[in-house]
Protein backbone atom coordinates (compact mmCIF):
# COMPACT_ATOMS: atom_id res chain seq x y z
CA UNK A 1 0.00 0.00 0.00
CA UNK A 2 1.24 3.43 -0.68
CA UNK A 3 0.96 7.10 -1.41
CA UNK A 4 1.08 8.45 -4.92
CA UNK A 5 1.46 12.04 -6.05
CA UNK A 6 1.71 13.77 -9.40
CA UNK A 7 2.23 17.38 -10.43
CA UNK A 8 1.94 18.75 -13.96
CA UNK A 9 2.76 22.40 -14.60
CA UNK A 10 0.47 24.21 -16.98
CA UNK A 11 2.30 27.48 -16.45
CA UNK A 12 5.81 27.19 -17.96
CA UNK A 13 7.06 29.99 -15.68
CA UNK A 14 6.84 27.54 -12.77
CA UNK A 15 9.25 25.02 -14.30
CA UNK A 16 12.25 26.09 -12.18
CA UNK A 17 10.15 25.54 -9.04
CA UNK A 18 8.97 22.02 -9.87
CA UNK A 19 11.19 20.22 -7.36
CA UNK A 20 10.42 22.70 -4.63
CA UNK A 21 6.68 22.52 -5.19
CA UNK A 22 6.70 18.73 -5.35
CA UNK A 23 8.69 18.12 -2.19
CA UNK A 24 5.97 18.72 0.44
CA UNK A 25 3.59 16.59 -1.62
CA UNK A 26 5.70 13.48 -1.35
CA UNK A 27 6.72 14.20 2.24
CA UNK A 28 3.04 14.27 3.31
CA UNK A 29 2.76 10.71 2.05
CA UNK A 30 5.51 9.43 4.35
CA UNK A 31 3.20 7.63 6.81
CA UNK A 32 1.45 5.78 3.99
CA UNK A 33 4.76 4.64 2.61
CA UNK A 34 7.64 4.45 5.04
CA UNK A 35 9.56 1.71 3.23
CA UNK A 36 10.83 3.37 0.07
CA UNK A 37 10.22 6.34 -2.21
CA UNK A 38 10.72 7.17 -5.85
CA UNK A 39 10.09 9.90 -8.36
CA UNK A 40 10.01 10.32 -12.11
CA UNK A 41 10.89 13.79 -13.24
CA UNK A 42 10.47 15.00 -16.81
CA UNK A 43 13.22 17.51 -17.65
CA UNK A 44 16.18 18.34 -19.92
CA UNK A 45 14.88 16.71 -23.10
CA UNK A 46 17.64 15.19 -25.21
CA UNK A 47 17.98 15.37 -28.99
CA UNK A 48 15.71 13.26 -31.15
CA UNK A 49 18.48 10.86 -32.05
CA UNK A 50 19.50 10.44 -28.44
CA UNK A 51 18.11 8.41 -25.56
CA UNK A 52 18.41 9.22 -21.86
CA UNK A 53 18.76 6.34 -19.40
CA UNK A 54 18.31 6.34 -15.63
CA UNK A 55 20.69 3.75 -14.23
CA UNK A 56 21.19 2.67 -10.63
CA UNK A 57 23.62 0.62 -8.61
CA UNK A 58 23.45 -0.43 -4.96
CA UNK A 59 26.99 0.82 -4.36
CA UNK A 60 26.99 4.60 -4.06
CA UNK A 61 30.63 4.79 -5.08
CA UNK A 62 30.22 2.75 -8.25
CA UNK A 63 32.47 3.84 -11.10
CA UNK A 64 30.08 4.89 -13.83
CA UNK A 65 32.93 5.97 -16.07
CA UNK A 66 33.50 2.38 -17.11
CA UNK A 67 29.94 2.19 -18.39
CA UNK A 68 30.49 5.40 -20.36
CA UNK A 69 33.73 4.15 -21.89
CA UNK A 70 32.60 0.57 -22.34
CA UNK A 71 29.42 1.53 -24.19
CA UNK A 72 31.19 3.98 -26.48
CA UNK A 73 33.66 1.30 -27.41
CA UNK A 74 31.23 -1.58 -27.81
CA UNK A 75 28.47 0.23 -29.67
CA UNK A 76 30.61 2.90 -31.37
CA UNK A 77 28.44 5.68 -30.01
CA UNK A 78 28.72 8.88 -28.03
CA UNK A 79 27.84 8.92 -24.35
CA UNK A 80 27.79 11.37 -21.54
CA UNK A 81 27.04 10.60 -17.91
CA UNK A 82 26.00 12.48 -14.82
CA UNK A 83 26.12 10.78 -11.41
CA UNK A 84 23.38 11.67 -8.95
CA UNK A 85 23.42 9.79 -5.64
CA UNK A 86 23.68 6.08 -6.48
CA UNK A 87 21.97 6.70 -9.82
CA UNK A 88 23.48 7.83 -13.10
CA UNK A 89 21.86 9.64 -16.03
CA UNK A 90 23.35 8.37 -19.25
CA UNK A 91 22.68 10.07 -22.57
CA UNK A 92 23.68 8.29 -25.75
CA UNK A 93 22.91 8.14 -29.44
CA UNK A 94 23.02 4.34 -29.33
CA UNK A 95 19.69 2.58 -29.71
CA UNK A 96 17.80 1.61 -26.55
CA UNK A 97 17.62 -2.17 -27.11
CA UNK A 98 21.35 -2.35 -27.84
CA UNK A 99 22.24 -0.45 -24.69
CA UNK A 100 19.96 -2.58 -22.53
CA UNK A 101 21.35 -5.80 -24.04
CA UNK A 102 24.97 -4.69 -23.55
CA UNK A 103 24.36 -3.74 -19.94
CA UNK A 104 22.57 -7.00 -19.22
CA UNK A 105 25.45 -8.97 -20.67
CA UNK A 106 28.41 -7.03 -19.30
CA UNK A 107 27.10 -5.29 -16.18
CA UNK A 108 24.10 -7.19 -14.86
CA UNK A 109 24.49 -5.48 -11.48
CA UNK A 110 23.49 -2.15 -13.05
CA UNK A 111 19.73 -1.58 -13.04
CA UNK A 112 18.06 0.20 -15.91
CA UNK A 113 15.44 2.17 -14.04
CA UNK A 114 13.95 4.09 -16.97
CA UNK A 115 14.61 5.52 -20.41
CA UNK A 116 13.26 7.99 -22.94
CA UNK A 117 13.84 11.55 -24.05
CA UNK A 118 12.92 13.49 -20.96
CA UNK A 119 12.19 11.07 -18.12
CA UNK A 120 14.56 10.53 -15.21
CA UNK A 121 13.65 8.06 -12.48
CA UNK A 122 15.15 7.99 -9.01
CA UNK A 123 14.09 5.49 -6.36
CA UNK A 124 15.52 4.10 -3.18
CA UNK A 125 14.59 2.48 0.12
CA UNK A 126 14.09 4.85 3.01
CA UNK A 127 11.94 7.82 3.91
CA UNK A 128 10.85 10.19 1.14
CA UNK A 129 12.66 13.13 2.73
CA UNK A 130 15.95 11.24 2.61
CA UNK A 131 15.36 10.01 -0.92
CA UNK A 132 14.61 13.56 -2.08
CA UNK A 133 17.83 14.87 -0.57
CA UNK A 134 19.91 12.04 -1.98
CA UNK A 135 18.95 12.94 -5.52
CA UNK A 136 19.15 16.76 -5.20
CA UNK A 137 15.53 17.20 -6.20
CA UNK A 138 14.90 20.37 -4.17
CA UNK A 139 16.24 22.57 -6.94
CA UNK A 140 14.99 20.42 -9.81
CA UNK A 141 13.38 22.09 -12.78
CA UNK A 142 11.07 20.34 -15.22
CA UNK A 143 7.58 20.08 -16.67
CA UNK A 144 6.04 17.39 -14.53
CA UNK A 145 6.81 14.92 -11.79
CA UNK A 146 5.36 11.64 -10.48
CA UNK A 147 6.15 10.34 -7.01
CA UNK A 148 5.49 7.34 -4.84
CA UNK A 149 5.98 6.30 -1.22
CA UNK A 150 5.79 2.60 -0.56
CA UNK A 151 4.45 0.34 2.17
CA UNK A 152 5.36 -3.09 0.82
CA UNK A 153 2.45 -5.54 1.01
CA UNK A 154 3.35 -8.98 -0.31
CA UNK A 155 6.90 -8.52 -1.50
CA UNK A 156 10.18 -7.44 -0.03
CA UNK A 157 11.30 -3.92 0.74
CA UNK A 158 14.00 -3.43 -1.85
CA UNK A 159 14.99 -0.68 -4.21
CA UNK A 160 14.08 -2.84 -7.18
CA UNK A 161 10.62 -3.25 -5.67
CA UNK A 162 10.08 0.51 -5.37
CA UNK A 163 7.97 2.52 -7.77
CA UNK A 164 7.91 4.18 -10.34
CA UNK A 165 8.29 1.27 -12.74
CA UNK A 166 9.29 2.14 -16.28
CA UNK A 167 6.96 0.75 -18.88
CA UNK A 168 8.43 2.11 -22.09
CA UNK A 169 10.09 5.24 -23.42
CA UNK A 170 9.19 8.18 -21.16
CA UNK A 171 6.52 6.07 -19.52
CA UNK A 172 6.30 5.11 -15.88
CA UNK A 173 3.70 3.71 -13.47
CA UNK A 174 3.01 4.19 -9.79
CA UNK A 175 0.34 2.25 -7.98
CA UNK A 176 -1.66 2.40 -4.78
CA UNK A 177 -3.56 -0.76 -3.94
CA UNK A 178 -3.08 -4.48 -4.23
CA UNK A 179 -3.56 -6.70 -7.29
CA UNK A 180 -4.92 -10.21 -6.82
CA UNK A 181 -4.07 -12.01 -10.10
CA UNK A 182 -0.58 -10.72 -10.77
CA UNK A 183 1.19 -14.04 -10.31
CA UNK A 184 -0.53 -15.71 -13.24
CA UNK A 185 -0.14 -12.57 -15.36
CA UNK A 186 3.56 -12.50 -14.58
CA UNK A 187 3.99 -16.01 -15.94
CA UNK A 188 2.07 -15.12 -19.11
CA UNK A 189 4.15 -11.99 -19.63
CA UNK A 190 7.39 -13.91 -19.09
CA UNK A 191 6.39 -16.11 -21.98
CA UNK A 192 5.97 -12.94 -24.04
CA UNK A 193 9.63 -12.21 -23.39
CA UNK A 194 9.41 -9.73 -20.53
CA UNK A 195 11.92 -9.92 -17.67
CA UNK A 196 11.00 -9.36 -14.05
CA UNK A 197 13.24 -8.24 -11.22
CA UNK A 198 10.84 -8.62 -8.29
CA UNK A 199 7.77 -10.41 -6.90
CA UNK A 200 6.00 -7.06 -6.81
CA UNK A 201 2.44 -6.79 -8.16
CA UNK A 202 3.05 -3.29 -9.50
CA UNK A 203 5.92 -4.52 -11.62
CA UNK A 204 3.40 -6.85 -13.27
CA UNK A 205 1.01 -3.97 -14.00
CA UNK A 206 3.87 -1.97 -15.50
CA UNK A 207 5.01 -4.94 -17.58
CA UNK A 208 1.44 -5.45 -18.78
CA UNK A 209 1.36 -1.84 -19.99
CA UNK A 210 4.73 -2.28 -21.70
CA UNK A 211 3.54 -5.38 -23.47
CA UNK A 212 0.30 -3.75 -24.61
CA UNK A 213 2.12 -0.69 -25.92
CA UNK A 214 4.70 -2.81 -27.70
CA UNK A 215 1.86 -4.68 -29.36
CA UNK A 216 0.62 -1.40 -30.81
CA UNK A 217 -2.04 -0.26 -28.36
CA UNK A 218 -2.39 3.40 -27.46
CA UNK A 219 -1.97 4.34 -23.82
CA UNK A 220 -5.72 4.72 -23.46
CA UNK A 221 -6.36 1.28 -24.97
CA UNK A 222 -3.72 -0.27 -22.75
CA UNK A 223 -5.32 1.20 -19.64
CA UNK A 224 -8.78 0.12 -20.76
CA UNK A 225 -7.56 -3.42 -21.35
CA UNK A 226 -5.92 -3.24 -17.95
CA UNK A 227 -9.25 -2.51 -16.30
CA UNK A 228 -10.46 -5.78 -17.71
CA UNK A 229 -7.36 -7.94 -17.22
CA UNK A 230 -5.99 -6.70 -13.91
CA UNK A 231 -7.90 -7.86 -10.83
CA UNK A 232 -7.71 -6.23 -7.42
CA UNK A 233 -7.85 -2.76 -5.94
CA UNK A 234 -5.78 -0.08 -7.62
CA UNK A 235 -5.28 3.54 -8.44
CA UNK A 236 -2.69 3.94 -11.21
CA UNK A 237 -0.86 7.13 -12.05
CA UNK A 238 0.99 6.82 -15.35
CA UNK A 239 3.62 9.36 -16.36
CA UNK A 240 3.91 10.12 -20.06
CA UNK A 241 6.30 12.25 -22.12
CA UNK A 242 4.08 15.28 -21.88
CA UNK A 243 1.61 14.63 -19.08
CA UNK A 244 -0.01 11.93 -17.00
CA UNK A 245 -2.94 9.54 -16.83
CA UNK A 246 -5.02 8.37 -13.84
CA UNK A 247 -7.28 5.34 -13.56
CA UNK A 248 -9.08 3.62 -10.66
CA UNK A 249 -10.49 0.09 -10.54
CA UNK A 250 -14.28 -0.43 -10.64
CA UNK A 251 -14.66 -0.98 -6.88
CA UNK A 252 -12.57 2.15 -6.12
CA UNK A 253 -11.78 1.58 -2.45
CA UNK A 254 -8.38 3.25 -2.64
CA UNK A 255 -8.83 6.98 -2.34
CA UNK A 256 -7.61 9.40 -4.99
CA UNK A 257 -8.09 13.12 -5.43
CA UNK A 258 -7.34 15.55 -8.26
CA UNK A 259 -6.95 19.30 -8.17
CA UNK A 260 -6.52 21.89 -10.89
CA UNK A 261 -5.76 25.60 -11.14
CA UNK A 262 -4.69 27.76 -14.07
CA UNK A 263 -1.09 26.99 -13.16
CA UNK A 264 -1.05 23.25 -12.44
CA UNK A 265 -2.84 19.92 -12.28
CA UNK A 266 -2.13 17.66 -9.30
CA UNK A 267 -3.12 14.19 -8.25
CA UNK A 268 -2.61 12.57 -4.84
CA UNK A 269 -3.81 9.74 -2.66
CA UNK A 270 -4.78 12.27 0.00
CA UNK A 271 -5.72 15.92 -0.28
CA UNK A 272 -3.22 16.98 2.36
CA UNK A 273 -0.43 16.35 -0.18
CA UNK A 274 -2.05 18.88 -2.49
CA UNK A 275 -2.80 21.37 0.28
CA UNK A 276 0.73 22.81 0.14
CA UNK A 277 0.57 23.86 -3.49
CA UNK A 278 0.13 27.59 -4.19
CA UNK A 279 -3.53 28.27 -4.88
CA UNK A 280 -4.68 24.91 -3.47
CA UNK A 281 -7.37 26.49 -1.31
CA UNK A 282 -9.26 27.74 -4.35
CA UNK A 283 -8.40 24.92 -6.76
CA UNK A 284 -11.06 22.86 -8.46
CA UNK A 285 -11.00 19.62 -6.50
CA UNK A 286 -12.62 16.37 -7.57
CA UNK A 287 -12.25 12.61 -7.38
CA UNK A 288 -11.61 10.41 -10.39
CA UNK A 289 -14.55 8.10 -11.12
CA UNK A 290 -13.95 4.35 -11.05
CA UNK A 291 -13.09 2.68 -14.38
CA UNK A 292 -12.51 5.99 -16.14
CA UNK A 293 -9.26 7.02 -17.77
CA UNK A 294 -8.20 10.61 -17.22
CA UNK A 295 -5.33 12.09 -19.21
CA UNK A 296 -3.59 15.44 -19.15
CA UNK A 297 -1.14 16.99 -21.50
CA UNK A 298 -1.52 14.45 -24.31
CA UNK A 299 0.21 11.11 -24.28
CA UNK A 300 2.71 9.02 -26.12
Amino acid sequence: MCGIVGLYLKNPKLKPKLGKMFKPMIIEMTNRGPDSAGVAIYRNPVKKAETKFSLAHNDGSYDWKKIDVGLEKALRCDCRIKKIGNHCILVTNAKEPAVVAWLKQHHPEVRVVGSGHTIEIFKETGLPANVYDKFNLDEASGTHMIGHTRMATESAVTTAGSHPFATGADLCLVHNGSLSNHNRLRENLRREGIDFQTENDTEVAAAYMTWKLRSGATLKQALEDGLRDLDGFYTFLVGTADGFAVVRDPIACKHAVMAETDDWVAMATEYRAIAHLPGADDAKIWEPEPSMIYTWGGHA
Binding site: A252, C253, H255, V257, E270, Y271, R272, A273, I274, A275, H276, D281, I285, W286, E287, E289, P290
Partner: protein
Protein backbone atom coordinates in the same frame (compact mmCIF):
# COMPACT_ATOMS: atom_id res chain seq x y z
CA UNK B 1 -15.30 33.04 19.61
CA UNK B 2 -12.05 31.18 20.14
CA UNK B 3 -9.46 30.15 17.59
CA UNK B 4 -7.27 27.08 17.24
CA UNK B 5 -4.63 26.80 14.54
CA UNK B 6 -3.78 23.31 13.26
CA UNK B 7 -0.40 24.65 12.14
CA UNK B 8 0.61 25.54 15.68
CA UNK B 9 -1.08 22.95 17.92
CA UNK B 10 -1.55 20.09 15.46
CA UNK B 11 -4.53 17.77 15.23
CA UNK B 12 -3.61 16.29 18.61
CA UNK B 13 -3.76 19.74 20.13
CA UNK B 14 -7.14 20.52 18.55
CA UNK B 15 -8.75 17.32 19.81
CA UNK B 16 -7.18 17.53 23.25
CA UNK B 17 -8.37 21.06 23.65
CA UNK B 18 -11.92 20.57 22.44
CA UNK B 19 -12.42 17.31 24.35
CA UNK B 20 -10.80 18.75 27.43
CA UNK B 21 -13.15 21.71 27.85
CA UNK B 22 -14.98 21.70 31.19
CA UNK B 23 -18.45 20.19 31.04
CA UNK B 24 -20.39 23.42 31.43
CA UNK B 25 -18.03 25.68 29.58
CA UNK B 26 -19.47 28.81 28.09
CA UNK B 27 -16.66 28.80 25.53
CA UNK B 28 -18.86 26.99 23.07
CA UNK B 29 -17.86 28.52 19.76
CA UNK B 30 -14.52 27.54 18.21
CA UNK B 31 -12.88 28.29 14.88
CA UNK B 32 -10.23 25.97 13.52
CA UNK B 33 -7.73 27.49 11.08
CA UNK B 34 -5.41 25.90 8.54
CA UNK B 35 -6.79 22.36 8.49
CA UNK B 36 -4.61 21.70 5.38
CA UNK B 37 -6.38 18.41 4.64
CA UNK B 38 -5.25 16.84 7.92
CA UNK B 39 -7.09 13.81 9.26
CA UNK B 40 -9.24 13.21 12.34
CA UNK B 41 -9.96 16.85 13.11
CA UNK B 42 -12.60 17.35 15.82
CA UNK B 43 -13.22 13.64 16.42
CA UNK B 44 -15.03 12.18 19.39
CA UNK B 45 -16.55 15.46 20.49
CA UNK B 46 -19.18 14.91 23.17
CA UNK B 47 -20.43 18.37 24.14
CA UNK B 48 -22.78 20.86 22.42
CA UNK B 49 -19.96 22.94 20.94
CA UNK B 50 -20.13 24.93 17.75
CA UNK B 51 -17.03 24.39 15.64
CA UNK B 52 -16.21 26.10 12.35
CA UNK B 53 -13.36 24.65 10.31
CA UNK B 54 -11.98 27.07 7.74
CA UNK B 55 -10.58 25.05 4.89
CA UNK B 56 -10.45 21.52 3.52
CA UNK B 57 -10.21 18.59 5.89
CA UNK B 58 -8.85 15.08 5.45
CA UNK B 59 -10.32 11.75 6.58
CA UNK B 60 -12.78 11.18 9.43
CA UNK B 61 -13.52 14.81 10.30
CA UNK B 62 -16.20 14.80 13.01
CA UNK B 63 -15.79 11.03 13.51
CA UNK B 64 -18.05 9.67 16.30
CA UNK B 65 -19.44 13.15 16.84
CA UNK B 66 -21.97 13.53 19.69
CA UNK B 67 -23.91 16.74 20.40
CA UNK B 68 -21.52 19.11 18.65
CA UNK B 69 -22.27 21.18 15.54
CA UNK B 70 -19.42 21.18 13.06
CA UNK B 71 -19.27 23.24 9.90
CA UNK B 72 -16.55 22.52 7.34
CA UNK B 73 -16.00 25.53 5.11
CA UNK B 74 -14.42 23.53 2.34
CA UNK B 75 -14.26 19.92 1.14
CA UNK B 76 -14.07 16.88 3.38
CA UNK B 77 -12.16 13.64 2.95
CA UNK B 78 -13.07 9.98 3.46
CA UNK B 79 -15.45 8.96 6.26
CA UNK B 80 -16.76 12.41 7.25
CA UNK B 81 -18.85 12.12 10.43
CA UNK B 82 -18.32 8.37 10.47
CA UNK B 83 -20.28 6.68 13.27
CA UNK B 84 -21.78 10.01 14.33
CA UNK B 85 -24.09 9.59 17.36
CA UNK B 86 -25.89 12.96 17.41
CA UNK B 87 -25.33 16.61 16.56
CA UNK B 88 -24.69 18.14 13.15
CA UNK B 89 -21.86 18.00 10.64
CA UNK B 90 -22.23 20.39 7.71
CA UNK B 91 -19.92 20.25 4.71
CA UNK B 92 -20.13 23.36 2.55
CA UNK B 93 -18.14 21.77 -0.27
CA UNK B 94 -17.99 18.12 -1.38
CA UNK B 95 -17.40 15.07 0.72
CA UNK B 96 -15.30 12.07 -0.19
CA UNK B 97 -16.07 8.33 0.08
CA UNK B 98 -18.03 6.75 2.92
CA UNK B 99 -19.56 10.00 4.18
CA UNK B 100 -21.64 9.32 7.30
CA UNK B 101 -20.47 5.68 7.35
CA UNK B 102 -22.21 3.63 10.08
CA UNK B 103 -23.69 6.80 11.56
CA UNK B 104 -26.11 6.17 14.45
CA UNK B 105 -27.80 9.54 14.68
CA UNK B 106 -27.49 13.24 14.08
CA UNK B 107 -27.59 15.12 10.79
CA UNK B 108 -24.92 15.22 8.08
CA UNK B 109 -25.44 17.85 5.39
CA UNK B 110 -23.27 17.96 2.29
CA UNK B 111 -24.01 21.00 0.16
CA UNK B 112 -21.95 19.69 -2.76
CA UNK B 113 -21.45 16.12 -3.95
CA UNK B 114 -20.74 13.04 -1.91
CA UNK B 115 -18.64 10.30 -3.38
CA UNK B 116 -19.13 6.52 -3.38
CA UNK B 117 -20.53 4.59 -0.41
CA UNK B 118 -22.32 7.61 1.05
CA UNK B 119 -24.24 6.40 4.10
CA UNK B 120 -22.71 2.92 3.96
CA UNK B 121 -24.10 0.75 6.78
CA UNK B 122 -26.01 3.73 8.19
CA UNK B 123 -27.64 2.97 11.54
CA UNK B 124 -29.93 5.94 12.16
CA UNK B 125 -28.08 8.99 10.84
CA UNK B 126 -29.86 11.48 8.56
CA UNK B 127 -27.83 12.53 5.54
CA UNK B 128 -28.87 15.23 3.08
CA UNK B 129 -26.73 15.71 -0.05
CA UNK B 130 -27.29 18.78 -2.19
CA UNK B 131 -25.48 17.28 -5.19
CA UNK B 132 -24.80 13.73 -6.38
CA UNK B 133 -23.72 10.58 -4.61
CA UNK B 134 -21.40 7.94 -6.02
CA UNK B 135 -21.77 4.17 -6.39
CA UNK B 136 -22.75 1.77 -3.60
CA UNK B 137 -24.39 4.52 -1.57
CA UNK B 138 -26.48 3.34 1.38
CA UNK B 139 -24.89 -0.10 1.01
CA UNK B 140 -26.33 -2.24 3.86
CA UNK B 141 -28.17 0.83 5.14
CA UNK B 142 -29.94 -0.33 8.30
CA UNK B 143 -31.77 2.72 9.54
CA UNK B 144 -31.94 6.47 8.96
CA UNK B 145 -32.56 8.65 5.95
CA UNK B 146 -30.45 9.51 2.92
CA UNK B 147 -31.76 12.40 0.83
CA UNK B 148 -30.08 12.94 -2.56
CA UNK B 149 -30.96 16.15 -4.36
CA UNK B 150 -28.80 15.28 -7.36
CA UNK B 151 -28.17 11.91 -9.01
CA UNK B 152 -27.19 8.58 -7.48
CA UNK B 153 -24.48 6.31 -8.89
CA UNK B 154 -24.60 2.56 -9.50
CA UNK B 155 -25.91 -0.01 -7.03
CA UNK B 156 -27.85 2.41 -4.85
CA UNK B 157 -29.02 0.75 -1.63
CA UNK B 158 -27.36 -2.59 -2.32
CA UNK B 159 -28.33 -5.09 0.43
CA UNK B 160 -30.32 -2.37 2.15
CA UNK B 161 -32.18 -3.09 5.41
CA UNK B 162 -34.60 -0.41 6.64
CA UNK B 163 -32.95 2.90 5.74
CA UNK B 164 -35.10 5.35 3.73
CA UNK B 165 -33.66 6.73 0.50
CA UNK B 166 -35.06 9.76 -1.30
CA UNK B 167 -33.70 10.74 -4.70
CA UNK B 168 -34.61 13.73 -6.83
CA UNK B 169 -32.34 13.12 -9.81
CA UNK B 170 -31.44 10.00 -11.79
CA UNK B 171 -30.42 6.67 -10.30
CA UNK B 172 -27.74 4.97 -12.42
CA UNK B 173 -28.78 1.55 -11.12
CA UNK B 174 -30.27 -0.06 -8.03
CA UNK B 175 -28.43 -2.54 -5.84
CA UNK B 176 -29.58 -5.99 -4.67
CA UNK B 177 -33.00 -5.92 -2.95
CA UNK B 178 -33.45 -2.15 -3.42
CA UNK B 179 -36.64 -1.04 -5.14
CA UNK B 180 -38.64 2.11 -5.70
CA UNK B 181 -41.38 2.47 -3.12
CA UNK B 182 -44.55 4.41 -2.65
CA UNK B 183 -44.33 7.91 -1.16
CA UNK B 184 -46.94 8.13 1.54
CA UNK B 185 -47.83 11.10 3.71
CA UNK B 186 -45.47 10.05 6.50
CA UNK B 187 -42.60 10.00 3.99
CA UNK B 188 -43.53 13.42 2.67
CA UNK B 189 -43.44 14.86 6.21
CA UNK B 190 -40.18 13.12 6.98
CA UNK B 191 -38.59 14.44 3.78
CA UNK B 192 -39.95 17.93 4.40
CA UNK B 193 -38.36 17.96 7.85
CA UNK B 194 -35.01 16.86 6.47
CA UNK B 195 -34.98 19.33 3.57
CA UNK B 196 -35.84 22.13 5.97
CA UNK B 197 -33.08 21.11 8.40
CA UNK B 198 -30.61 21.14 5.50
CA UNK B 199 -31.88 24.52 4.30
CA UNK B 200 -32.71 23.09 0.85
CA UNK B 201 -35.18 24.68 -1.56
CA UNK B 202 -36.28 21.40 -3.16
CA UNK B 203 -39.80 20.17 -2.48
CA UNK B 204 -40.72 16.64 -1.29
CA UNK B 205 -42.95 16.09 -4.32
CA UNK B 206 -39.84 16.23 -6.55
CA UNK B 207 -38.35 13.10 -4.92
CA UNK B 208 -38.85 9.36 -5.31
CA UNK B 209 -38.47 6.90 -2.43
CA UNK B 210 -36.33 3.76 -2.48
CA UNK B 211 -36.01 1.01 0.10
CA UNK B 212 -35.71 -2.67 0.82
CA UNK B 213 -37.76 -5.26 -1.03
CA UNK B 214 -37.07 -7.43 2.03
CA UNK B 215 -36.47 -10.50 -0.13
CA UNK B 216 -33.01 -11.14 1.34
CA UNK B 217 -34.10 -11.02 4.96
CA UNK B 218 -34.19 -14.78 5.23
CA UNK B 219 -32.16 -16.88 2.88
CA UNK B 220 -33.98 -18.46 -0.02
CA UNK B 221 -32.07 -20.34 -2.68
CA UNK B 222 -34.14 -18.63 -5.36
CA UNK B 223 -32.43 -15.35 -4.52
CA UNK B 224 -28.93 -16.81 -4.44
CA UNK B 225 -27.90 -14.55 -7.35
CA UNK B 226 -28.27 -11.51 -5.17
CA UNK B 227 -25.63 -12.67 -2.66
Amino acid sequence: MNELDVKTVGVRGINLHLNGLPKNTNEKHWVIKNPMGQHSIAVGLSAPLQVDINGHVGFYCGGMNAHAELTIHGHAGVGTAENMMSGVVWVKGNSSESAGATGNGGLLVIDGDASSRCGISMKGIDIVVGGNVGHMSAFMGQRGNLVICGDAGDALGDSIYEAHLYVKGKVASLGADCIEKEMRSEHISELERLLKAAKRREKPAEFRRYGSARKLYNFSVDHADAY
